[in-house]
């Protein structure tokens, strides 16, 4: 199953205004996370990945999506959790950062939400220290953490070239 999200991307709004933007919300290890919709290329169901010996432990492996071979970061492991059970709800959220295209293995993908810039708050210090969370937002009863995709996929840590 594929969900195209490219067409949802929000129209450009004047800089500094309280513009609306779309976010993709998903869960991992009981928490809600979000990525800007323009970062997300598509979502795919997860049917297992090919393990890559020697890759960082949080890399579930590589998968082939539309002829492209991408690494998949297991979000549970990335955030220091334990591997989750494989369920039908598992999704790969395929995101793009510069030239890199990387999938995030999540427990389930929930929805696409519209948020105003003013709804995004700086993360609490404890959450911010790991550097993965850029901001938080309250959506109804839930606290959603806006991820720094570049950090999650190891940018600034790995030698991100060649």
């Amino acid at each position: 199953m594929t969900t195209e999200l490219a067409s949802y991307s929000a129209p450009g709004a004047p800089e500094g205004g309280d513009e609306l933007a779309l976010y993709v919300v998903f869960t991992a290890n009981g928490s809600d996370y979000a990525l800007p919709a323009e970062t997300v290329l598509q979502m795919e169901s997860f049917e297992g990945a090919t393990a890559v010996p020697g890759a960082p432990p949080f890399v579930a492996g590589v998968v082939q999506i539309r002829g492209r071979v991408l690494p998949v970061v297991d979000l549970r492991l990335r955030f220091g959790g334990t591997p989750g059970e494989r369920v039908l709800d598992n999704r790969i959220v395929v995101g793009q950062h510069g030239e890199r295209v990387v999938g995030l293995l999540v427990d389930s993908a929930r929805e696409v939400v519209k948020l105003r810039r003013s709804e995004l708050k700086p993360p609490p210090p404890l959450v911010a220290s790991a550097g993965f969370v850029r901001a938080v937002a309250q959506i109804g009863p839930r606290l959603v953490m806006l991820l720094d995709f570049a950090r999650v996929i190891g940018e600034e840590q790995l030698d991100g070239v060649v």
Partner: protein, 673 residues
């Protein structure tokens, strides 16, 4: 001549023969189109003659008698046609097309290391039987050249002929006089550079050195008269030759397009016409490019080691900012280098499409349909390997369209459509990584009900579901298999080629009574290598065949365990043909298990001459694999060269055993870490 030389020579022959056959086919189609309109196409006949003549000459050199026999007869027909204004009846064109196919077939046999089959007697008879009808009275005319007798006496008859023919072909014959001097040399003009520069914009028919009285302009008393055929202006010629405009004189203006006027016969022993006219083009075997790519891969591996070393250095507190900057430049340069080599493998998409008319012609004939073909390849380019793989899929789509989609002329007339159906093939580069090919027709559209009936199951709404149904193996909406589309590959194979082999995307849109369009999205580049599939702990891996020296059964009695070193797994050693080498456990090296298991089979690998072996469960087979590099830094691991799809839709890792051997040596402590 040693056998190696011969092999290389044959390869060169194959390359050149294929090129000439490509030209032949294109020219034959032009002649065919003209013949159907009842017109002559003298220029195409002459071009075809040249191509066939080249094929004949080359074939004689490598002793391919069958091709010589066929091409010789083609040549006679064409020479005679040329003498009669280039007129060829459609029936003769048909036989020539058959002959070209017969030659192609034999060239292919040679490429597959088979002995070329003898020429079909029926074909030779048909070729012999063709009497070319003369196209009206002929007069020996042609352009006259205004050449100084002192010059013309120094020219060979064929050179004069070449000039006349060039003029009749619509080019101008010029003479440019170049006088070498120190001043000219300082400006970078010598006779050699002048010839080279002129060669790019004109055909240099002859360069004649002449003694002249020494002057200021010609201090050496030497002058060169260059006889040229060109379509560019005198000014351009003068600039390229570094001479004054007055040094360029016109020998003959182009002849008006010939309308039955006959040029002098083509001279068979005219050596010039055998020489290919392409300039600034180098033919390179794909193997050499792969070799260059291979070296780049090793550079990439070295680079990541360097990166790691720099990172470690940084951790010790050393300031590595300057180093990091160099590393960034180095990374970019490596990427550029890799892209440059990949670009060398690109061929114009137009080359892919220009083979389609020939296919279409055959299908049209058999199916009694009349189809107008629109080809639009623009400037798109794609990898040669991709082009070769995608071509059969295109052929299938073209055959399908003509055979199933485009209605017979009477039906089209009744429906108010133009009697002639239109088939459009387009190639567009979507980005610098992807090519989009489309095959569209204005036929009847895919009959959903008929497909459902044949499959005996419902088809969900939507074109995507209908395409899925069309791609079910073995589906044919026709009861009677036609000779064209009833054989060979089906849509399931088209999909497999596009999606599984090439990692592309296939989609379709169809509209009842209006037409169907198939869209193929394929990557522009890929690298294809011969690989072995290895099995190890239930996982499959592939390795390039070039990595492996030998595969052997492991005789447990010949395996010795080396003394264990502190904190390290102990390596085994195995003896093979008197050579003792380390035997590494592949699964262990890859970190798939802690304890080594007994290997049943092993592959022998050499690294800088040093032999080592990897033990594994079994070598499961050999196939060509499309290797996609793992570009993301998260999965750039030493020893993992990329990923491939073995047909199950999931990636299988491609291992670099040579690099992995280095890791294993470190891990097992057979060498200092």
């Amino acid at each position: 001549m040693t056998s190696v030389d011969l092999k290389e020579f044959v390869n060169a022959y194959l390359g050149e023969a294929e090129e000439q056959l490509r030209i032949s086919n294109a020219k034959l189609l032009e002649i065919d189109a003209a013949a159907r309109r009842g017109e002559a196409h003298p220029r195409a006949v002459r071009d075809l003659f040249r191509a066939v003549h080249t094929v004949k000459g080359l074939s004689a050199m490598v002793d391919v008698d069958a091709v010589v026999a066929i091409s010789h007869r083609m040549e006679s027909i064409l020479r005679s046609a040329d003498r009669h204004g280039g007129h060829l009846p459609v029936s003769a064109v048909d036989v020539l097309l058959q002959a070209a196919r017969a030659i192609e077939h034999r060239v292919r046999e040679l490429a597959e290391d088979k002995a070329p089959s003898p020429p079909p007697p029926a074909l030779l008879e048909s070729l012999d039987a063709i009497g070319v009808r003369a196209g009206g009275a002929s007069s020996t005319s042609g352009a006259t050249l205004a050449i100084d007798p002192s010059l013309s006496s120094k020219l060979q008859p064929f050179e004069l002929d070449l000039l006349v023919r060039g003029v009749n072909d619509g080019r101008r014959a010029l003479r440019a006089d170049f006088r070498p001097s120190p001043v000219q040399a300082e400006r970078g003009f010598s006779i050699n550079t002048v010839r080279e520069r002129l060669g790019a914009i004109a055909e240099v028919v002859k360069t004649l050195p002449m003694a002249v009285p020494p002057t200021e302009n010609a201090p050496g008393g030497l002058s060169f008269a260059l006889l040229l055929l060109t379509t560019v202006s005198d000014e351009e010629i003068a600039a390229a030759a570094g001479v004054e405009l007055s040094d360029v004189t016109t020998l003959a203006a182009p002849a008006p397009p010939s309308t039955g006027d006959v040029a002098p016969p083509v001279d068979e022993d005219d050596g010039e016409s055998v020489l290919p006219q392409r300039r600034n083009i180098v033919r390179v075997s794909v193997a050499r490019l792969d070799d260059a790519m291979e070296h780049i891969s090793t550079l990439v591996v070295t680079r990541s080691r360097l990166a790691r070393a720099v990172a470690e250095l940084g951790q010790t507190g050393v300031n590595t900012r300057a180093l990091a900057e160099i590393m960034r430049d180095n990374a970019r340069q490596l990427r550029d280098l890799r892209a440059a080599v990949l670009r060398i493998r690109l061929v114009p998409a137009a080359e892919l499409l220009e083979r389609i008319p020939l296919i279409l012609r055959g299908v049209e004939r058999e199916g009694g349909r009349s189809v107008r073909l629109v080809l639009d390849a623009g400037t798109a380019e794609l990898d040669k390997g991709v082009a070769e793989r995608i071509f059969p899929a295109l052929v299938h789509l073209v055959r399908n369209a003509v055979d199933h989609a485009i209605e017979p002329p009477e039906e089209r007339k009744r429906l108010g459509k133009p009697e002639e159906g239109t088939l459009t093939l387009r190639c567009v580069a979507r980005s610098n990584a992807e090519l989009e090919l489309s095959v569209s027709d204005d036929g009847r559209g895919v009959d959903r009900a008929a497909v459902a009936q044949r499959l005996r199951h419902e088809i969900p709404p939507g074109d995507a579901a209908l395409l899925d149904a069309l791609c079910e193996p073995g589906l044919s909406t026709r009861d009677r298999a036609t000779t064209t589309s009833g054989r060979g590959m089906g849509m399931d194979i088209v999909r497999r080629v596009v999606v599984d082999q090439l990692g592309g995307d296939l989609s379709m849109a169809t509209s009842s009574g209006i037409g169907t369009i198939f869209m193929l999205r394929v990557p522009l580049t890929l690298s294809i290598v011969d690989t072995f599939t290895l099995e190890c702990l239930g996982e499959r891996f592939v390795v390039p065949v070039s990595n492996v020296d030998e595969i052997f059964e492991v005789d447990a009695t010949r395996v010795r365990r080396a003394p264990s070193q502190a904190g390290r797994p102990s390596p085994s050693v195995v003896e093979r043909r008197g050579e003792v080498m380390p035997l590494f456990d592949l699964a262990g090296t890859l970190g798939m298990r802690d304890r080594d298991a007994r290997a049943r089979q092993a592959v022998l690998v050499r690294r800088a001459g040093e032999a080592f072996a990897f033990g594994l469960d079994r070598v499961a087979g050999q196939q060509e694999s499309v290797v996609r590099p793992l570009v993301d830094p998260l999965v750039q691991i030493r020893g993992v060269a990329g990923a491939t799809d073995l047909g199950d839709g999931r990636p299988t890792l491609v291992l670099d055993l040579v690099a992995l051997g280095a890791s294993a040596a470190t891990l097992y402590g057979t060498r200092a870490a």
